[in-house]
Amino acid sequence: MKKSLFLIVFLIALGIFIFQPMSYSGRDGETLFLNKCGNCHSESGEAPIFGPVKYASSQWERFFKRKKHNRKKDISGEVTDEELAIIKEYLIDHAADSDRPIAAGLR
C-alpha cells in the first residue's frame, strides 16, 4: 500500500516535471518584466530598480492609463502593446495590496 502511494505521487510529480516546461512562453509576466523593464531598471541601468510593490493595484492602473512612463521615456519601440498588457497584469497581480503568500521567513 505504501509503495503504491509513493508510486502514484512520484508518477504525478514526474508528469508535471516533464510537461510543464513546455508551457513556457513569452506570456510569463515576471520574465517579461525582468527582461524588458530590467534593461533600464537595474543596478547598472539608467533607471532605478523597482518591483510590483512600488504601487497599489489602483495606482498601477492609473500609471498605465495615463501612460506615465512616456513622460520620462517613450518605450513603444522596445515593448509591444501586447507585452505591455502582460507586464501590466503582472504588476497589478503582485502590487503592494495584492494577496501575498505568508510563511515564516518569507518576505
Binding site: K2, L5, F6, I8, V9, I12, A13, I16, F17, F19, Q20, P21, M22, S23, Y24, R27, D28, E30, D99, R100, P101, I102, A103, A104, G105, L106, R107
Partner: protein, 489 residues
C-alpha cells in the same frame, strides 16, 4: 471810471488769477507726461526684449509664467497637505486588513458511537460567523511583525463542546465567541544574508493547499495535512534561491514548545512537549506557482492524559516522528487546472505506562491496560489530494470547482484540524471526500462557496491520542453540506 472799465478791470484780475491758478501746474503735468512716456517706452523696450527672448526660446511666455506661478502655489499647498498625510502614514505603524465569513452548515450523522451504542443524528441549519483581523508592520527594512486576531462564533448562545482531541480549541468559540491571538510573530531578516529568524506564535494555520478552496494564496508555513493549529516557537530560515537557483527555496530548522509545565515549583512532574523540525521547500523546478515541500519533525515527551484529578500519570507518554511531503501546482499548463498531493508517514513510540484512571486501569498514548497494548510502537500514514478547475467563463467571473480526498490510517495522529470543519475533515481515520463550487463575487474581495463533505470513518477515537485503537472500528459516517460567504477588506 466807467462801469465798463470797472468790469474790464475785474475780468483782467480774474483772468490773471485764473491763469495763475492753472499756469502753476502746467510744468509738473508736462514732467509727469514725460515720465509716463518714458515708462511706456521702457515697457515697450522690455516687451520687445521679452519677445525677442521668446523668439530665441530663452524665456517662457507671459501666460506660461502665470501658469507656472499658479502651479508653484498649488505644489506648495499640496506639499503642506502631503506632510500631514506622510506624518500620519509614519505614525500608522500597523496595517490592518480583515476577513469576514458567514457559514451555514447541515450535518447528517450515521452510526455515531455513544456509550457503547451507535446512533444516527442530524444538525439542521447551523450558522456561524468568523472574523479575522490581520496585522502587519514593517518595523524596519529587515524587521517585520505579523499577527492575526480571530473570532469565531456560533450564532445564538449555543455552548460549543470541545473534544479532547481538538487541538484548535483555542480557535473554537466559547459560549459567547472568543477573540484571541491566532498568530503573532516577528520575522527578522539578517541584513546582507539569506537568513531569517522567526519567533513568537507562528503562522501555522492556512498552509497549502488552503489557497485552492479559499481563492487566495498560502497563509502558513506547514501544509495543512501536517500541522494546522496554534504553536509557539522559533524558526531559523535559510534562503536557497541565491545559492541554488531554486525559486523560493527555503531551508528551515525550528523548535516549538507545545506544552510547558509552569507548575514545576509545586513539584508537578510533567515533561514539556517539545517539537523539533526540519523543512525544505521551493518551487518545483521549471514550474511557476508550484510548491515542493518536504519536512520531518520529532515530538518529544508527549503530554500524558491528565484530565482527571488525583490520578497518577507518567512524566510523559513517549515520542513520535513525522515525515511529510507536499506537492502543488496551481495552474497546470495554463489550463486552469490545479493539483496538490500530500503524504505523511508517522511513527509513534509510546511509553508502556499511562494515567491510572481507575484502580488497575491505565490509559496511555495509543494504548491502554484493558487492551494490553501500552507501549506498543505504531506506524501510520495519511494522504490528502485534490484538484481545482477554474472555469473559463469570464461572464461568471471564472467560477471554480474542486474535489478533495483525504485518508488517515488507524494509528494516524492528526496535528491538523481544519478550523472550518466542526467534524475535522483532516482528522478522519478513514476516508473523506469533498466537492465544492466557488463563485467569485468580486475578484479580490468576496466569494461564495457551496459544497459537501462525506466522511467515512474506519476507526473512531474520540480521545485523540489517548487509549487503544485496537477495537476502534466503526461504521460512522457524516455528510456535511455547507454554504459560505467570504468577504475580505
Amino acid at each position: 471810471m466807467s462801469r465798463f472799465g470797472v468790469a474790464f478791470f475785474i475780468m483782467v484780475i480774474w483772468l490773471a488769477q485764473a491763469d495763475g491758478l492753472y499756469g502753476q501746474d502746467n510744468l509738473p503735468e508736462e514732467a509727469a507726461s514725460e515720465q509716463v512716456r518714458m515708462r511706456i517706452e521702457a515697457l515697450e523696450s522690455e516687451i520687445r526684449d521679452i519677445k525677442k527672448r521668446i523668439r530665441e526660446g530663452k524665456a517662457p511666455s507671459l501666460e506660461t509664467a502665470e501658469d507656472v506661478a499658479f502651479i508653484a502655489e498649488d505644489v506648495e499647498e499640496i506639499s503642506e497637505r502631503l506632510d500631514v498625510v506622510e506624518k500620519r502614514s509614519i505614525l500608522d505603524r500597523i496595517q490592518f486588513s480583515g476577513e469576514f465569513r458567514n457559514i451555514l452548515e447541515y450535518y447528517d450523522i450515521d452510526n455515531l458511537p455513544v456509550n457503547g451504542e451507535e446512533r444516527d443524528g442530524a444538525i439542521d441549519e447551523l450558522w456561524s460567523s468568523r472574523l479575522r483581523l490581520n496585522l502587519y508592520s514593517q518595523i524596519t527594512q529587515d524587521i517585520i511583525f505579523q499577527g492575526r486576531l480571530s473570532y469565531l462564533k456560533y450564532w445564538g448562545d449555543a455552548n460549543y463542546s470541545h473534544e479532547p482531541r481538538d487541538w484548535e480549541y483555542n480557535a473554537a468559540p466559547d459560549s459567547e465567541g472568543d477573540l484571541h491571538v491566532e498568530r503573532a510573530y516577528i520575522d527578522y531578516f539578517v541584513p546582507g544574508t539569506p537568513m531569517a529568524l522567526t519567533f513568537g506564535r507562528l503562522p501555522v494555520s492556512g498552509g497549502p493547499p488552503y489557497g485552492f478552496k479559499n481563492n487566495t494564496t498560502r497563509k502558513a508555513t506547514w501544509p495543512q495535512l501536517f500541522v494546522e493549529g496554534e504553536f509557539d516557537g522559533i524558526i531559523g530560515s535559510l534562503g536557497l534561491e541565491s545559492w541554488t537557483g531554486l525559486e523560493d527555496g527555503v531551508f528551515r530548522l525550528g523548535y516549538c514548545k507545545a506544552t510547558q509545565n509552569y507548575l514545576q515549583y509545586q513539584n508537578v512532574k510533567m515533561n514539556d512537549l517539545r517539537v523539533y523540525f526540519i523543512t525544505l521547500e521551493s518551487e518545483i523546478p521549471g514550474i511557476k506557482d508550484s510548491i515542493l515541500w518536504m519536512g520531518a519533525y520529532k515530538g518529544m515527551n508527549v503530554t500524558p492524559l491528565d484530565l482527571i484529578p488525583d490520578t497518577t500519570y507518567p512524566e510523559d507518554s513517549g515520542h513520535y516522528e513525522n515525515y511529510t511531503m507536499h506537492l502543488q501546482v496551481d495552474d497546470i499548463l495554463g489550463s486552469g487546472l490545479g493539483w496538490f498531493g500530500a503524504f505523511g508517514y508517522q511513527r509513534s513510540h509510546p511509553r508502556n505506562e499511562g494515567t491510572e484512571v481507575l484502580p488497575g486501569v491505565e490509559i496511555g498514548y495509543l494504548g491502554d491496560s484493558l487492551h494490553n497494548d501500552l507501549g506498543k510502537r505504531r506506524t501510520a500514514y495519511s494522504i490528502y489530494t485534490g484538484l481545482k478547475y477554474v472555469l473559463p467563463l469570464e461572464i461568471l467571473k471564472n467560477p471554480q470547482v474542486g474535489f478533495e480526498y483525504n485518508y488517515g490510517s488507524q494509528y494516524w495522529v492528526p496535528a491538523s484540524i481544519s478550523k472550518e470543519d466542526l467534524t475535522h475533515k483532516l482528522g478522519v481515520l478513514g476516508h473523506a471526500y469533498e466537492l465544492y463550487y466557488l463563485q467569485p463575487v468580486h475578484e479580490k474581495h468576496m466569494f461564495l462557496r457551496i459544497g459537501s463533505i462525506y466522511e467515512d470513518y474506519e476507526y473512531y477515537s474520540p480521545y485523540w491520542i489517548y487509549g487503544s485503537r485496537e477495537d476502534a472500528q466503526t461504521g460512522l459516517n457524516i455528510l456535511k453540506s455547507y454554504f459560505l460567504v467570504d468577504v475580505r477588506f
